[in-house]
């Protein structure tokens, strides 16, 4: 959708607030514009129009009127700002909420192609620019229009000819501003471009620091950075020159307006065609126009930046997840038994990529335990990720309990599968919340027991209430992995998938955890991806994946006797453990 129509949709929801805000804005400017008018009358009464007609009382009355108008203006302006800026904050908040919903809905394929930094920048910098647009930008834009219209009306009512004189420099200003905007835009782009080069250079240098050090490249790197830096400086200074030429011009233009009023209006006064009060009032209007005029360039920049940012935000809002419930998905009426069947599954991450899995067919009986082993890049993790549809298998290839998995609602499917990923991710909250993760918290102790986490919890400074994760206590890799296992176990899933979940603990510990696990969670289908064949040998059956194909499949003893790839791998690992033992 176009950014403009997206914005229209959000603004329309708060039309009452915005409309009321605009009305109040008109009222406050009316008060402000009446002040020079009153001044005019007072000055004229004091003799500005020839003969003095004023008394102390009329002067005091005029002054009181100005005070009253000023107070009313301040009050009404505050109200209008609260309404309009408040509405802007609501719009910001709604766009943010929609953005978060979009983030939560989008699938892994989406996250694979974007960096977290880029997404965060849309949710922070871009949203901030949009907030400026719907709040201050909109307010200033409307205010400027009202101030211009109001001043024009007031000035025309007093003296059309002097109005023409006072506003004479403005068409020139518009022409200059237009030229300036084009040039400033081009120069800003040039600065941005150079800054991006500078930042790329710094990034390349900092990430390649080992090579920079080993090859003593520092002098060259410093020289190159200096050159880019100098060019950046040159571009910034070019920009400054333009800015310096233009920005005082606005103030000078206002000065010229005031001068025209004084000079040409002054002549009219001395020829007694105009009163002194009119001159004073006009000076007041010209001064009142000064600020919105000066701010206009800035406001237009906010609007331009806001729309560009909104475009980037809209991209996310409009993105559709590829992994959703199939058209014929029907809720599960009874819990799954955990039978898995895969028929002729060939899978590529993208059409142009080579196949990660090639014609894989296998059946896993409910309640059985299966190990998937094989070389790195053989397709083990891919296979595991397809079960909970982290990646989407082609239709008609993966079945659970005989149901094609697209016909099972995504929520139900994922609730039935306990998935423990390679990378143990903990959020910055308490360990209890991390393990429960939405499930009832009373089961955490039991789950921790099975996962072998219980003794670790006892040693934490605040036990279950210790905050972990990035902004909390750093747990060891093994502790993190046991925590994520507990998280999966707590939900008592029918199918448990451990994707190389114990790489960070030693073999002994992994064997111990798995032993306990198999004993406790009988009648649950268990898939274990592992590099350690000793672990694999504990399970009912072993599947060897190589280059995306099943090359061997059977119980440990049988595969060993066969003397194929599995047997070779086994011998290799035996040797390795001998080396370990030797140390």
């Amino acid at each position: 959708m176009m950014p403009v129509s997206v914005l229209g949709r959000y603004l329309a929801r708060h039309r009452v607030r915005y409309a009321a805000g605009v009305l109040l804005l008109i009222a406050t400017n009316a008060c402000a514009l009446l002040i020079p008018w009153v001044t005019k009358d007072v000055v004229d009464a004091l003799g500005g129009a020839g003969r003095s007609t004023a008394t102390r009382e009329t002067v005091a009355l005029g002054a009181l009127l100005v005070v009253g108008l000023a107070l009313a203006q301040a009050l009404v302006r505050t109200a209008s700002r609260l309404l309009m800026l408040g509405a802007g904050q609501r719009v910001e908040s709604e766009i943010r909420a929609d953005l978060f919903d979009a983030f939560l809905r989008l699938d892994l394929a989406f996250y694979q192609t974007r960096r977290t930094g880029d997404l965060m920048s849309r949710a922070t910098n871009d949203l901030q620019s949009v907030a400026m647009l719907v709040g201050f930008g909109l307010l200033s834009l409307i205010n400027t229009a009202i101030v211009y219209a109001g001043s024009l009306v007031a000035m025309l009512r007093i003296d059309p000819w002097l109005t023409a004189v006072a506003l004479a420099p403005y068409p020139l200003l518009v022409a200059v501003a237009r030229r300036y905007t084009t040039r400033a835009h081009a120069e800003a782009l040039a600065v941005q471009e150079q800054l991006s080069r500078l930042s790329t250079k710094a990034h390349e240098n900092l990430s390649g620091m080992p090579v920079v050090r080993a090859y003593t490249l520092a002098p060259r790197e410093i020289a190159e950075f200096r050159t880019l830096n100098e060019e950046h400086l040159a571009r910034v200074l070019r920009q400054t020159r333009t800015h310096g030429l233009f920005s005082p011009l606005l103030a000078i233009m206002t000065g010229i307006g005031a001068l025209s009023v004084l000079w040409i209006g002054g002549r009219a006064v001395l020829e007694e065609r105009l009163s002194l009060g009119v001159l004073v009032a006009f000076s007041g209007y010209v001064a009142y126009l000064a600020w919105p005029t000066m701010a206009l360039g800035w406001v237009l920049a906010i609007v331009r930046r806001g729309f560009a940012a909104l475009g980037r935000v809209t991209e996310i809002l409009d993105a559709r997840p590829g992994i959703v419930d199939g058209p014929d998905a029907a809720p599960l009426v009874e819990p799954l038994r955990g039978e898995i069947e895969i028929r002729g599954l060939t899978f590529r991450y993208a059409p142009e990529h080579p196949a990660a899995l090639r014609d894989v067919s296998l059946r896993i009986a409910p309640g059985s335990s299966v190990a998937i082993v094989g070389t790195t890049g053989g397709g083990k993790t891919t296979l595991a990720g397809l079960l909970p549809r982290l990646w989407d298998p082609p239709p008609g290839t993966v079945f659970v309990d005989g149901r094609e998995i697209h016909t099972i609602p995504l929520r139900d499917l994922r609730a039935a599968i306990g998935f423990v990923p390679q990378e143990a991710f903990l959020f910055s909250r308490t360990l209890r919340e991390n393990v429960a993760f939405g499930a009832p918290e009373d089961g955490v102790t039991a789950a921790a027991e099975v996962a072998g986490l219980a003794s670790d919890v006892a040693r934490l400074p605040r036990g279950w209430d210790t905050v972990v994760g990035e902004r909390g206590l750093t747990l060891s890799g093994g502790q993190r992995q046991r925590s994520t296992l507990a998280r999966a176990l707590l939900r008592d899933p029918q199918i448990l998938v451990l994707d190389d979940a114990f790489a960070a603990v030693d073999a002994e510990t992994e064997v111990a955890i798995l032993d306990r696990l198999l004993e406790r969670i009988q009648r649950r289908t268990t898939l274990v991806i592992t590099h350690r064949l000793r672990v694999a040998s504990l399970l009912d059956r072993i599947i060897v994946l190589e280059d995306g194909q099943v090359v061997e499949d059977g119980p440990h003893a049988e595969l060993l006797a066969r003397g194929g790839p599995y047997a070779r791998l086994w011998r290799r690992q035996q040797l390795e453990s001998t080396i370990e033992a030797a140390g």
Partner: protein, 626 residues
């Protein structure tokens, strides 16, 4: 430590002081080369203030002496004079904007270049602790914030102060009673500002912390997205985020309300001053003690007086941000760089022709090393407080011209040992000597030119093939092409559009893995260090490239003292000596054939790699790798 200070500053609240004399002095020192510009712009301020003061005064004269007396030629003279002041004002403003930005940006760019150069000299341990993003922020963002001091911060505050003073002086000279009347509201304004200062600050801080909280949570949500989706926690997470977002909006609204209030009060007070002038001035005009011109001039002076006061808070927040940034930037600049000694040993030509006894090319004497910080983070590490030694008491002598292969399992300490030879890290115990001189005494650049370290991870820079080979040194093209031929990269290079001048895409995306490895060998060959430490690539490449690579490595190692973290059979076989590491200790050493007969750890490692009873050779090599 500076490192930890840097770290803790990262998430710090930006509620720092507005001014810090120590930091200001350090920033001021950077203006030294530009003092002339600073002097000029200092002169401009009083001039600008003078123009600001003169204009209303001209209005006064125009009204009192000419308009009200019907003197058109006089009015025209004043009109021309006024036009003249506008022209002068324009020129002065331009000069002031340009000079202050010029100075500010010069300082920014100098500081940035200094910072970048300083970072190049920081030890590897610094980069282990400070992510690239953080250092980037220092170099790009924080430095810019300091520049703002010149354009919008301190300099503008000084300018405003001069203008304010001049306006006050002229007002006092024009009419004492009206001046006092104008200032009558100042105490009210001050009282309001003081009363609202604390709540406004708190509101600002609330809004900022809540936003930071919201963003941190969002960042984590994005990183942990697979977990959230697998556990069906989307709705709960959306609620939490919405909650944080609402809390942020409330704080924002409060902040905005207070700000609007402050703004409204300032505006109302300004108008009240106009009203008071009108009232009192009117009475004085009636009494004949005041002229119209003075009254009108006063109204304009009042505006010029209150405008800088209203904008002051914006300038103070610029100063606050700059102070925080300056603190971070100088903390980084104060991080001690790695320092080498001054010794550049004269090393004669290698080879047996010279019958002098040379010290060993490399010697390690009971070296112990633990990575900085290892053993302290996290819980449950064995032996609280004791460093996690990566190298434990290794002693080793490598003679000139000797070729040594380092072997051992994963985590045995091979790469660590290699790094110690170029003093990437300093050892905690023992000594590392190169050519008989302790590495700490070597001039660092000389050391790293003497001992070349070629890492497994090939880093390519944006630039042409030739630039990536020479790394910017002035090397004749013929020599580059000769080396390219010797390591077999000339064929594929010539196929690229532009050959050696072909641009490599980001990180060499248009090259295969094997080609990148070959490039890195060529680069080392051109660098031509007397001693070479090579971490052989483990990742597999196709057999054809593998063959070329072996050839290239042989070319590289020929006639050079070398230490190779060996993964290839051929490399080990051609080594004069094999050193076996395990758990950071040297467990065995000797020629390949001798070790293999010994039936120790080396034999087991060997069988693991190439199969039991392997005679060696390419077939076994390839099989083990598949």
């Amino acid at each position: 430590m500076n490192h930890s200070r840097l770290g803790s500053l990262e998430d710090d609240e930006v509620v720092g002081r507005v001014y810090d004399a120590r930091l200001a002095r350090r920033v001021w020192a950077y203006t030294r080369p530009y003092r002339r510009a600073v002097a000029y712009s200092t002169v401009l301020f009083p001039l600008l203030a003078a123009v600001d003061v003169v204009q209303p005064y001209l209005v006064k004269i125009a009204i009192d002496d000419h308009i009200l007396r019907g003197d058109w030629p006089g009015l025209s003279r004043i009109g021309l004079l006024f036009l003249g002041t506008l022209a002068v004002q324009y020129a002065l403003r331009y000069g002031q904007i340009y000079l202050s930005t010029w100075t500010g940006q010069r300082v920014v760019h100098d500081l940035r270049a200094t910072l970048f150069a300083h970072v190049q000299r920081l030890p590897a341990a610094f980069f282990d602790r400070n992510p690239v993003g953080r250092v980037m922020t220092r170099i790009l963002g924080d430095v810019e914030a300091i520049g703002e001091v010149f354009t919008a911060g301190l300099v503008a505050i000084v300018g405003d102060a001069i203008t304010l003073t001049s306006v006050v002086v002229v007002m006092l000279m024009l009419h004492l009673r009206l001046t006092l009347l104008t200032f009558a509201v100042l105490p009210i304004l001050a009282a309001v500002a003081v009363a609202l200062r604390a709540p406004v600050r708190r509101a600002y801080r609330d809004a900022r912390t809540r936003l930071a909280h919201l963003n941190a949570d969002l960042q984590e949500t994005i990183s942990g997205m697979p977990v959230i989706q697998l556990f069906g926690a989307e709705a709960a997470r959306a609620r939490e985020l919405k909650d944080l977002s609402d809390r942020y909006r409330q704080a924002q609204f409060r902040r905005m309300g207070l700000e609007s209030l402050l703004y409204a009060i300032a505006e109302a007070l300004g108008a009240t001053v106009v009203a008071a002038l009108l009232w009192w001035g009117g009475i004085e005009i009636l009494g004949g003690t005041l002229t119209f011109g003075v009254l009108v001039a006063f109204m304009q002076y009042t505006q010029r007086f209150y405008l800088p006061i209203r904008d002051a808070s914006a300038k103070f927040s610029v100063m606050q941000a700059a102070t925080v940034s300056a603190e971070r930037v100088f903390a980084l600049l104060d991080t001690p760089p790695e320092t080498g000694g001054a010794v550049v040993p004269a090393v004669g030509p290698s080879g047996p022709a010279v019958p002098v006894r040379h010290p060993p090319a490399i010697e390690l004497r009971d070296v112990w090393f633990a990575y900085p910080g290892a053993g302290q983070d996290g819980l449950g590490r064995d032996g609280e407080g004791a460093p996690a030694w990566a190298i434990r008491g290794v002693s080793l002598r490598i003679e000139r011209g000797e070729r040594v292969a380092l072997v051992g399992g994963t985590g045995a300490g091979k790469t660590t040992l290699a790094r110690l030879l170029t003093r990437t890290y300093d050892v905690q115990r023992g000594t590392v000597l190169v050519e008989g001189v302790e590495v700490r005494e070597w001039d660092l650049v000389a050391l790293r030119q003497h001992v070349g370290l070629v890492l497994q991870d090939v880093v390519l820079f944006a630039g042409t093939v030739a630039e990536n080979l020479t790394l910017g040194r002035d090397v004749p093209r013929a020599m580059v092409e000769d080396v390219a031929r010797r390591v077999h990269i000339d064929t594929f290079t010539r196929r690229l559009a532009g050959a050696f001048d072909a641009k490599l895409l980001e990180r060499g995306a248009n090259l295969s893995h094997g080609q990148r490895q070959l490039l890195s060998v060529a680069r080392a060959l051109l660098y031509n260090p007397p001693v070479l430490v090579l971490d052989e690539a483990t990742s597999s490449v196709d057999p054809e490239t593998e063959h070329l690579l072996q050839d290239a490595v042989n070319e590289l190692l020929a006639g050079r003292t070398s230490v190779v973290i060996a993964h290839r059979f051929s490399t080990i076989q051609r080594a004069d000596r094999v050193v076996v590491l395990q758990h950071g200790q040297l467990v065995d050493e000797g020629p390949h054939a001798v070790l293999l007969r010994r039936d120790g750890l080396y034999r087991t490692l060997w069988e693991l790699q190439y199969g039991p009873g392997a005679p060696g050779g390419r077939a076994a090599d390839a099989a083990a790798r598949a």
